[in-house]
């Protein structure tokens, strides 16, 4: 009797783990298409942008390497409750971000999260960058290079943040971005964003300093 019950429970557990109620990338891909996400985001790499005009006609950021760029926990929560990332409206220098990004309900968000996290780039090596609040990274970010001119970052004093508005906020970058992607993006920016209004720092910063600054950005809360 005991044995039979155990076996039955085992079967039930197995059935549960295979049930479609659990997150599923294929279902996520369907939802992504059905909800019109693909109208504003492309998910097939490599990068398609060749000219400034190509970049300016995009209605949203490219997502073909989302699984290498984002942290899964952050992405799942953001899809359900999106908060502005760019202070300015996408591709605008005059209008503020309206904060009207489409939301997904819990189950859909889980599936789309699985789908987006399955989109990875072979050009992001794992385990190279560990978050590190070190003086070298800080010096590059806040003094030697103009990073703060275009990016908000966490401030200690009264204000919650400081910095410019034309780039995505880096407040919370330590939870949002994969530290290894930050470094890969600085080192080989053209693979991910061939046309962008951020300067190319590869060849200006030494490899070691790109690592230092990536480690520093990865600590931003």
């Amino acid at each position: 009797m005991r044995m039979a019950l155990k076996a039955l429970l085992g079967v039930a557990a197995l059935a549960l783990s295979a049930s479609p109620a659990l997150a599923d990338p294929a279902a996520g891909k369907k939802t992504f298409t059905a909800k019109g996400c693909g109208d504003c985001h492309y998910t097939d790499g490599p990068a398609k942008e060749k000219t400034i005009a190509d970049q300016l006609t995009k209605k949203g950021p490219e997502l073909w390497y989302a699984g290498s760029k984002f942290q899964k926990k952050w992405l799942g929560a953001w899809l359900e409750d999106p908060k502005p990332i760019r202070p300015m409206k996408f591709n605008s220098l005059t209008e503020k971000n309206p904060g009207d990004h489409p939301k997904l309900a819990g189950g859909d968000a889980k599936n789309v999260n699985e789908f987006l996290m399955s989109l990875v780039s072979k050009d992001v090596k794992a385990g190279v960058i560990k978050p590190k609040k070190a003086a070298k990274g800080r010096l590059i970010f806040t003094k030697k290079m103009p990073c703060t001119g275009c990016h908000q970052y966490p401030a200690k004093k009264r204000a919650k943040y400081k910095g410019g508005n034309s780039g995505p906020t880096l407040v919370g970058a330590g939870k949002r971005l994969n530290p290894d992607w930050i470094y890969a993006y600085l080192k080989t920016p053209k693979i991910f964003k061939p046309v962008k209004s951020m300067p190319v720092f590869a060849g200006i910063l030494k490899d070691k300093d790109m690592k230092n600054v990536a480690q520093f950005v990865a600590t931003f809360k």
Binding site: M88, L93, G149, C150, G164, P199, V200
Partner: protein, 125 residues
């Protein structure tokens, strides 16, 4: 004789037209380049009032419509600071280095665009 002269004339006109159209396209390109890369800080009209310039921005980005200031710079000075950034001209690092981002012709176009904005020729020689 007459015919070939006409043909040459037509050819020359076409050539002239082509280079005129090309110059127009280049100027339009320079404006697009300026608005995409430089306007973030210097403003769409070049007045130093882009969206990055908030009250805690440490230095004012150059106002390109100020002929008096812009006349202190030669074209070579502009090129130098655009390629290598503020520190190359003992200016603030908030002016980024664009040498690995922009092509030679893009930088030349930008110099011309800045001259259009200041309506000035700059320091000669």
């Amino acid at each position: 004789m007459m015919k070939s002269a006409n043909a040459i004339l037509a050819g020359l006109t076409l050539l002239g037209l082509a280079s005129w159209v090309q110059a127009g396209a280049l100027a339009a390109d320079a404006e697009t380049t300026f608005k995409f890369y430089c306007a973030q800080c210097h403003g769409l009209g070049g007045k130093g009032d882009g969206p990055n310039v908030t009250k805690n921005f440490p230095v004012s980005p150059r106002n390109f419509t100020n002929a008096k200031e812009m006349n202190k710079l030669s074209d070579a000075d502009i090129k130098n600071v655009v390629l290598d950034g503020g520190p190359a001209a003992s200016k603030s690092p908030m002016m980024p280095p664009w040498g690995k981002t922009l092509t030679g012709p893009q930088v030349d176009g930008l110099v011309k665009h800045l001259r259009k904005l200041c309506k000035c020729k700059g320091k000669q020689g």
